[in-house]
Chain length 209, copies 2
Amino acid sequence: MREQKKQATREALSAAALRLALERGPDNVRVDDIAEAAGVSPRTYNNYFSSREQAIVAAVTGERGARVAAAVADRPADVGLAAAVIEAIVDQYTAPGEPGRDALLLITASPALREAFVDTTGAIEHPLTDAIAGRLGDTDPHTARVLAASVAAAVRLALGRWLQTTAASFTAGGLVVPSGSLPDLLRATLAPLAPALDAAEQQALRRRR
Amino acid sequence: MREQKKQATREALSAAALRLALERGPDNVRVDDIAEAAGVSPRTYNNYFSSREQAIVAAVTGERGARVAAAVADRPADVGLAAAVIEAIVDQYTAPGEPGRDALLLITASPALREAFVDTTGAIEHPLTDAIAGRLGDTDPHTARVLAASVAAAVRLALGRWLQTTAASFTAGGLVVPSGSLPDLLRATLAPLAPALDAAEQQALRRRR
DNA sequence: CAGAAAAAGTGCGTGCACGCAAGTTTGCGT
DNA sequence: ACGCAAACTTGCGTGCACGCACTTTTTCTG
C-alpha cells in the first residue's frame, strides 16, 4: 500500500508537470506550481524528480521500461533473440505515440525536453537486462547486461536522430523530409547489433547442453 | 590561437579543481575557489564545466576520446575491427593509470565523482565513431555510430563495475576480491559486442567490391 | 592600420537541487 | 489494540547552474 501511494504521487506529479507545461509553455512552469498542483511540498517533488524536464517527460515515458521487458519476454521462444528484442522495442515505441500527440510536439520544441526524453532510454536498461537474461537462460547475466546497454544506447541514438530531424522539419517548413518513420529508424539503428544478440543466443544454447 | 587559449584555461580549471579536491577533500571545494585558482571568474568556470565533479574528473580523463580514436586508427589493417577496438580501449584505459593514482583513489571514494567518471564514457563516442567509420571505409556512417555508442555503453558498464568492486573492497577491508583487473573486465565486457563489430566489417568488405 | 564583427569573459539575478534534521505516516510484531 | 521502527514528507539553508545583458578581447576586412 505504501508502494501504491508512492506511485500515485509520482504520477500526480508528472501529470501535473505535463499539464502545466502544455498550458503555459515549459519555461513558465515553476517547481512550486507542480508541487502545489500535485498536493505535495516542493521538497517532496524533488524526492521524485531531479529536474522539471524529467517530471514532464515521465508523463509520456513512464512505464516504457517495464513494457519493453514484458514485450520481449512475451515473444514466442522460437524467434531469434535479435528479432524478439528489435520488434518488441519497435512495438513499444510506436504504440504510445497516440496518447500524447501534443505532448510530443511540446517535447520536440524544447531542446531541454528533447534531451530529457532521449535520456529516458537509460531507464529501459535494467528491465531489458532481465528480459534478455531470461531468454538466455540466466547462464551469464553479464552478457545480458552488455547487450541491454548496447540496445539502449542504440535506441537513444535513434530517438535523438528522430527528434532532431522532426525538429528540423518544423523550422525548415517541410523542405526536409522526415527522414523515415520512427519504426524504420529504430530497425535500421538496431540492425548492426543483431549479430551480437544472435551470437549470444547461440552461445547460450551451446552452453546449455 | 583562440583554441589554444580556451584549452589552456580549460586545463587550468580542471587542474585547479583536482588539486584543491586532493588537498581538502571533494566536499570542501567551492566553485569560487576553483575559479580563483585558475584566474577566471566563477561565471567563466561555468562556461567550461557544468559541475564540480566534471571539472575534477576532466583532469584525469581529458583527452581519452581522442587517444582512443587514434589508437583504433593506428592498429594494423589486417587485424579484425573487434580486436582493434577492444585492444585499443584496453590500452588507453590501462596506460593512464599511473599519472594520477591518488586521483583515482579520490574518485573511487566519492559516489558523485564515481558517477561523473563513469559518465565521461560518453565523450569517446564521437571520436570512436570517426575511427570506426574510417576502418569501415565510410560507406555507412550510421553503423559506425551505433557500434561506437554500444562500445561506449559497454565501457561505461565495465568502469561502473570496476569502481563499484574496488570501492567495496575498500570498505570490506579486503574480504572482497578485486574481481579481476580492469583490462580483464574490459575485455570480458566488450566480448559480447565482437560479433557485431566483425559482422559490420564483413558487410563493409562485401559492399566495397 | 583602423574599425567593425565575432567571440570569449564577466556581473547579476533567479530558480533549483540537495543535504540535514526535524516531524509525520505506515506497517509490523506482540 | 498498542507502540515501535522504518519509511516518507517537510522546512530550511547553502551552493550552484544558467539565462541575460554588457564589457573586453581577438580576429577579419577594406
